[in-house]
C-alpha cells in the first residue's frame, strides 16, 4: 500500500483512501510510543531536514521525535541561526541542502505555497508543517485521528471550530480532512475573523457560539492570535472572551460524550477557561501524543517509494 502522492502539502484534494491509510498506519504506530524502547528501524539511512522559517515548539519537536523514533538522521534548521540572516534566498538555501544528499524536507513558512514551490526545486519528499494561513495538514490529521480514536469513526460526527478561522491553517486542514471523511463541520467566530464567503467551504457558519453548539460532538477551539487584536479585528480580549470564550456553562448544549480539543498554544482565560481545558472531556494532551504517531505514519508512508519507483508505477498506470 502506498500514498498516491510523494508529498503531503494539504488535505484539500487529498483522497479519502490516502487519509484512511495514514490514520490506519498511525493507529499501528501509536503502540510504539508505549514501548520501553520507542524506536523502530524503517527509516534507517534516510536523511530528513526540518526547515523552520517560523517559530514552533510543538510541531518542530514532534516532527524531530517522530523522525528519530523511525531511526532517520535529522537536522533542524531555524532561520535565526542560518545564512537566511545574510540574505540567502529560499531556493538557494534548499538547493544547497539538497546538495548534501537529503531525502525529505519538513517545512514551515510564513507564506502560503512555499511547500508547493519546494516540490519544483527539489527531488526530496516535501511535508508541509504549516504554510502561512493555507494549511497545516499533519495537525488536521492528528485532530481527526484523535476524534477517530475516541469515537471509532469520523463519518457522521459534528465538529465545531471556534475562533480565528480566517487566519487559521489548522482550521482549513480540519475542514478539508473532516469533510472528505464524511463529518459535518461548523465554524464560529466574530465576522472579522471568518473568511470571506466561508460557506463555500461547505460548512455551517455561525457568529453566535451558543447556537453553534447545538448537536455538536467535538469542539475544536482555535487560538486567538493576540497580535491580531492590534490590527483591530476585535475590540478587546474581554469582549472576545464574553462572546466566544468556551466556558463550562456553554458546554451544556453539546451532545453527551462531547470532546474538547485545542491545537495549542492555549491562551487560558481568553478562548478557553481552565475548567474546560483541564476538564474530563479535554483531549488536548492526547492530541500531542497522537501527533507523534500521525507524523511517524506520514514519514513512513512518504519515505516508502523512491522517486523512480513512483514514476515507473505511474507509467504502468
Amino acid at each position: 500500500m502506498r500514498l498516491s502522492s510523494r508529498h503531503l502539502l494539504q488535505l484539500e484534494g487529498t483522497l479519502k483512501k490516502d487519509l484512511e491509510l495514514i490514520l490506519d498506519t498511525a493507529e499501528s504506530f501509536r503502540e510504539i510510543l508505549d514501548r520501553p524502547i520507542k524506536k523502530v528501524p524503517p527509516l534507517r539511512g534516510k536523511t530528513i531536514v526540518n526547515l523552520f522559517y517560523e517559530a514552533s515548539t510543538r510541531t518542530r519537536i514532534s516532527f524531530e521525535l517522530a523522525e528519530k523514533r523511525l531511526s532517520a538522521d535529522t537536522v533542524t534548521f531555524t532561520t535565526s541561526m542560518s545564512s537566511v540572516q545574510k540574505g540567502e534566498s529560499l531556493r538557494d538555501t534548499v538547493r544547497n541542502l539538497e546538495a548534501m544528499k537529503i531525502d525529505m524536507v519538513v517545512v514551515r513558512h510564513g507564506s502560503a505555497g512555499v511547500p508547493y514551490y519546494l516540490t519544483h526545486c527539489l527531488d526530496a519528499n516535501i511535508i508541509n508543517a504549516g504554510d502561512g494561513t493555507h494549511e497545516h495538514p499533519t495537525q488536521g490529521l492528528l485532530d481527526i485521528f484523535t476524534m477517530r480514536r475516541k469515537y471509532g469513526h469520523v463519518a457522521g460526527l459534528r465538529v465545531l471550530l471556534v475562533g480565528d478561522i480566517k487566519h487559521s491553517r489548522v482550521a482549513r486542514s480540519n475542514i478539508w480532512g473532516l469533510k472528505t471523511l464524511g463529518a459535518s463541520v461548523a465554524i464560529c467566530g466574530p465576522t472579522t475573523l471568518l473568511p470571506y464567503e466561508a460557506e463555500k467551504f461547505g460548512v455551517d457558519v455561525y457568529t453566535n457560539v451558543d447556537e453553534a453548539m447545538d448537536g455538536v460532538d467535538v469542539v475544536n477551539i482555535l487560538r486567538i492570535q493576540l497580535e491580531r487584536q492590534k490590527a483591530g479585528l476585535f475590540p478587546s480580549q474581554r469582549e472576545y472572551t464574553n462572546l466566544f470564550g468556551i466556558t463550562g456553562e456553554r458546554l451544556k448544549r453539546l451532545n453527551k460524550n462531547y470532546t474538547i480539543m485545542h491545537p495549542g498554544p492555549m491562551n487560558r482565560g481568553v478562548e478557553i477557561t481552565n475548567e474546560v481545558a483541564d476538564g474530563p472531556a479535554s483531549v488536548i494532551l492526547s492530541q500531542v501524543t497522537n501527533g507523534q504517531a500521525v507524523r511517524m505514519a506520514v514519514l513512513y508512508l512518504l519515505a516508502g517509494a523512491e522517486d523512480k519507483d513512483v514514476r515507473e508505477a505511474e507509467e504502468r498506470g
Binding site: R2, S28, F29, V40, P41, Y300, L301, E312
Partner: protein, 188 residues
Amino acid sequence: MDAPKVTRAITRIAHEILERNTGAGSLVIIGILTRGADLAARLAKTIEEIEGVKVPVGLMDINLYRDDVNYNPDQPVVRKTEIIFAIDGKNLILVDDVLYTGRTIRAALSQIIDFGRPRTVQLAVLVDRGHRQLPIRADYVGKNIPTNFDDNVQVRFAERDGVDGVLLYPASAQRAQGSTTAAKRKKK
C-alpha cells in the same frame, strides 16, 4: 496436511514445549501476524488444556523491522503489535506458520530485543519448508515439507480460513495456471 494432522502437530508441539521448559510457569508466547498469531492462540489453548495454566499471548507485526523496506516499491501495511506483558527473564516461544528464508524470524528477533531481554527465545513453526538464507532453525516443527524455492506453501486455520490445513502449490502447476502468486513469493 489435513485438519486432524494439524491438530495433532499442535498438540505434540505443546507437549514438547512443556517438557523442555518443565511446565508453563515461565512461558510467554508471541505470534507473528497473521497466521503465526492464530497458531500462537491455539498453542496457548492447548497448553492450558494440558497444564491448566494460562500463558500470556502477544502478537507482533514485523514489517518495520524488515530488511527489504527500502527495496520493495509497495510499502508493507503496518499492523498492530500487541505485547502487553513483560518478557524479561521469560522463556519466549516465538510462533510462525511457515519457516522459509528465515528473514521474518530475523526481523522478529530484532523487535523482541527492543521489548526486553527474555531468558530464552524458542521458535515454533507448523511447517519448515527449507531454503534458509540466514543461520536460523526452529526448536519445534509441526512438519518438514521439502519444497522447491518458488513453490507456494499456504497454511489455513479454521478461525480465519474456515478449515485447518497446509497446502502445497508446486511452482510448475502455477505456471501452467498463469497464477501470479508464485512470482510474488519468489520476490520475497
